[in-house]
Symmetry: C2
Subunit: 250 residues, 2 copies
């Protein structure tokens, strides 16, 4: 990478916004200005859409009672209730069914399109928020209790709540957790087996990160984290829930 005069990596401000991403979970009580929220939402809508299908809905949840309930459904994540804004991003083919009652729905492919396109929108929203001095965090925890979230927000068939995003003014600057290096994630032309020496180096890096961080220190490597996380079931109710909402039936 190019280095600037004082020896730092020279990056443009979009790349700087992307690279300085931290999941922010502690917010001040300051509200988000209406024009900033509108910019964030417009950025979400500017993402690519597969075959111009536009299959995303965003539920902006403002009522405190709904927020409190969602915080509990998400596993007791208090910032879901307290963040200035909480947006629930959903794959939505109900809109298409309203337009075309005979629409062919329920395909697994549509679940993929919905998840991918909705995530593109979510990332745009989060980056736009960061660029405005705000911070945020994705809340996959709404998938802990998808039936209850669905009932609470009145989501009809063919609408699938995928994740929430908390947004607000950061009260703290969290530390950055080192991600897997390019040498492990990027493959050239063909899938390559995991490079065990690169993994060992990364494991050591993570072990040092966890030992040194300012709070919640622990003694673990990424490999150990993976072993613990994948030794248990992963939301085993999800298939049945998706089918019940009219997704991934065929």
């Amino acid at each position: 990478m190019a280095l600037n005069a004082i020896g730092e990596v020279d990056m443009n401000s979009t790349i700087a916004t992307i690279m300085r991403h931290r999941s922010v979970r502690h917010f001040t009580e300051q509200a988000i200005e209406a024009d900033k929220l509108e910019q964030i939402l417009n950025c979400a809508l500017a993402a690519s859409t597969s075959s111009f299908i536009q299959c995303t809905s965003i539920i902006r949840v403002s009522k405190p009672a709904l927020r409190q309930q969602l915080a509990e459904y998400a596993g007791g994540q208090g910032y879901v209730a307290s963040a200035a804004e909480f947006l629930v991003f959903c794959a939505d083919f109900n809109r298409h069914q309203q337009i075309h009652p005979e629409a062919q729905l329920g395909f697994t492919e549509q679940t993929l399109i919905g998840a991918i396109d909705t995530a593109l929108m979510g990332q745009n929203a989060l980056l736009a928020a960061q660029s405005l001095g705000l911070g945020g965090v994705f809340i996959g925890g709404i998938r802990n209790n998808p039936q209850q979230v669905t009932a609470l927000l009145g989501l009809p068939e063919h609408v699938l709540p995928l994740f929430g995003i908390c947004i607000g003014y950061p009260a703290r600057e969290p530390q950055s957790k080192p991600h897997l290096p390019l040498s492990i994630v990027v493959h050239q032309d063909q899938y390559q087996q995991l490079d065990r020496s690169a993994l060992a180096e990364y494991d050591q890096h993570i072990r040092e990160y966890y030992a040194a961080r300012s709070s919640n220190t622990k003694q673990t490597s990424w490999s150990e984290h993976v072993k613990a996380a994948l030794s248990k079931e992963s939301r085993p109710f999800m298939k049945e829930y998706l089918n019940g909402q009219g997704f991934s039936l065929k």
Copy 2:
């Protein structure tokens, strides 16, 4: 929104990058500088990862023969072969299985995590590219022939190719297609039925866009597009393919 001195919406450069997104399908022959490619890939890796699972692999495809084959598999999209770079973004739990052979895999929830987290990385990559004067387009068409793509790139079980991204220096500045308005996509506190008058207005907007654009003009509204697109099956082989790769089995 705030207006600047000459009456334009005042936006920071990250938001400007997001808002000026166009899918670029025509590229010059100029290669992408190594430091720019590295910045793009590092931006991809900076995205959030659900529960620190890091379940994405990126296959950078450079060999012309592989590119040509992928262009055909994607439905004859020549820019897959000719773009300076083509990156295939995959959900990857094979890496975890290599680390932990007893990993519990095959959950539908893991397909969702894989699709969402991989898409966050893809959007970062595309925006970083745009900010560097490059352009790109998502290629969902690699899901037209997933078995063949899997064989070509040597993808093992628990790896799911989700989309490709072509990146290069734009040879043309494409027009922007108007997306659904906030009033249709954003719901307040509860899911709201489609506002038919807002839809009619948007349909008219799209009809005018298609009639006026510089090439490939047509007479159609978004509602008509939806009816045509959803009157046919949506990659009906996808469920069986996913299951065969070890995804969405339970």
